[in-house]
Amino acid sequence: MIRALFSGKLLLVAAVVLAVLAAAPLMLSRFYVYLMALILVTGLLATSLNLVLGFGGMYQFHHAVFYGFGAYALTLMLTKTGMPAAAAYLLAPCCSAVLGLVIGLITVRLTKLYFGMLQISLGSLVWALAYRWYSFTGGDDGIHGIPIPDLLYASTSAYYFSLIVVAASLLLMYLIVNSPFGRIFQGIRDNPERCRAVGVDVVRHQLAGQAIAGFFAGVAGTLFVTVEGSVFPELMFWTLSLELIIMCLLGGWFVFLGPMLGAAIIVTLRTFVGIYTEYWTLVLGVVLMLLIFFLPEGVLGFALGKARPAAAEAVGEK
């Protein structure tokens, strides 16, 4: 099965992309390296959201909370405890996974819009705690000047670290999507009743999906801390969650790498449109409207679907 997933062409493309990304800091200025690191982190976050949104069909309306939770977990472990940084980096995503499990235990009883709205409310509870608990989380100021390990402190090393972790995470998620678990997960999306009828424990699969998506969102959170050196409650504010859904929609949510592309477009647009005008969200809003009217399957989904349906199959379209 592994061999079927990685055709020679796919491996070649992946190797070229990785090589270009690895060589990029050699010829780009610090600002662009930072921007690319931000794109990678946001892309990982959007891809982890798409794991449950696109492949699981769950209305994950408040994914950012797992991202922020991972970021805060790492920050608090680095600043308030003396534990080794490596352990903190491993433990923080696990905290997000546990949060995913806990919120999931309450939300998976519901479906569709009820699920999503309940998730927004529970996530907002976590946000409200971080926003108000000045003595512990720094409240609405957040925490700045986080002691990042020396090895990762420089912006290029933060970039390379992000690149390696994002690549590894994407590989893992790709394997998960194409594993028997991933297939059942997509089956639940398409027809939960039938899955239940053939003996699949739908709730347990959805819970596992929540935990996995939470874990990778937590990984993205730790990377954000590494790149940015600070955390603040906006990381788990609901508007970010909806922006993530836009990224998935923009790139195409039935394609594995769609959200990555969507994140790249949004982050780049925000950075450069933001230079020219303070009305960046107006631009984003209009782009989103046009997208929903004319391109509901996303850029990558559209390109792949129109050009080569077979290729879409290979990239992981359902």
Partner: protein
């Protein structure tokens, strides 16, 4: 942290009244959201932006018409209508072409409207905050066993039940209300008996958004009118609608009561974390009744 050390009966009573006047605003806004959710099945994220626009419009109209009682009355009348007009244009121009799409797309579309509306507010009113003082006879406060209670809050306590009655009358006693409730249950059947469902949807959407504007107009004298006031109200309204039962207006009333009272009593008990109390109440309600307290129209 002072933990519930000096709560007197008078302070408790005062906070309950404050909570009830907060409930009024929450109910007006979330009943509009609930109406749209129930009939059109759209989680309208732009509801909060319309509330904000209502508040800003109230400020502008009241200032333009002279800040006295007359100006405020005119603003209270016109600002929600302006919001209704805006929502009508959005519905007929954009929204009505998308009803066949799934919920997620509709939600995202309303989010895109939020992004546009918020920047339009920034364009028109700038990013400074505004504050509006209530007309003379609603200013000041009177005392309840020694503790002050703002007169404007009393005004809100009068307006709340009036709006609730108006909504009850509209949904239960008028033809459009009955048609809308029927469309909420079975839109094909309503279409089959020869009613133009599209216009029923438009009317419901506009009424729902009018309520958002009315909430914004009523809240304008009580707080700073700022960018970002939409963010908190929309989450609160969503929570209220969920714990009440999607699409059930009386559920919205019940939810607003729970939310408003836990919020105001939380301030009394543990000020720093007052913001957390309503959320905890929501979680507790949903643990026992995951689909809300009252019957949903879904």
């Amino acid at each position: 942290m002072e933990f519930a050390s000096n709560i007197t009966a008078a302070a408790l009573f005062q906070q309950v009244l404050v909570g009830l006047s907060r409930t009024t605003i929450l109910f007006i806004v979330s009943s509009g959201l609930s109406l749209v959710l129930g009939v059109l099945r759209i989680p309208n994220v732009a509801h909060g932006s319309l509330y904000m626009i209502g508040a800003f419009l109230t400020y502008s109209i009241a200032t333009a018409a002279g800040s006295g009682a007359f100006g405020f009355a005119v603003a209270l009348l016109l600002a929600p209508l302006g919001v209704a007009l805006l929502s009508f244009a959005a519905e007929r121009g954009l929204f009505c072409h998308l009803y066949e799409r799934e919920h997620l797309m509709l939600l995202l579309f309303t989010f895109s409207m939020t992004l546009v509306f918020n920047d339009l507010v920034k364009l028109v009113w700038g990013s400074d905050y505004r504050s509006l003082t209530a007309p003379g006879f609603l200013q000041g406060s009177f005392s309840i066993s020694g503790l002050p209670f703002p007169r404007y809050n009393l005004f809100l306590l009068v307006v709340g039940p009036l709006v609730a009655f108006g909504l009850w009358y509209l949904t239960n006693r008028t033809k459009i209300g009955k048609i809308a409730r029927a469309a909420a249950v079975d839109r094909e059947m309503v279409g089959a008996v020869g009613i133009n469902v599209s216009w029923v949807f438009a009317a419901t959407f506009v009424i729902g958004c009018y309520l958002a504007g009315l909430g914004g107009a009523l809240v304008a004298p009580t707080q700073n009118i700022t960018q970002g006031m939409d963010h908190t109200i929309i989450i609160e309204a969503f929570l209220i609608v969920i714990i009440g039962g999607l699409g059930n207006i009386w559920g919205a009333l019940l939810g607003a009561l729970i939310f408003g009272l836990t919020d105001s009593l939380g301030i009394l008990i543990w000020p720093q974390f007052a913001i957390v109390f309503p959320y905890v109440a929501v979680v507790i309600v949903l643990l026992f009744r995951p689909k809300g307290l009252l019957k949903s129209t879904w």
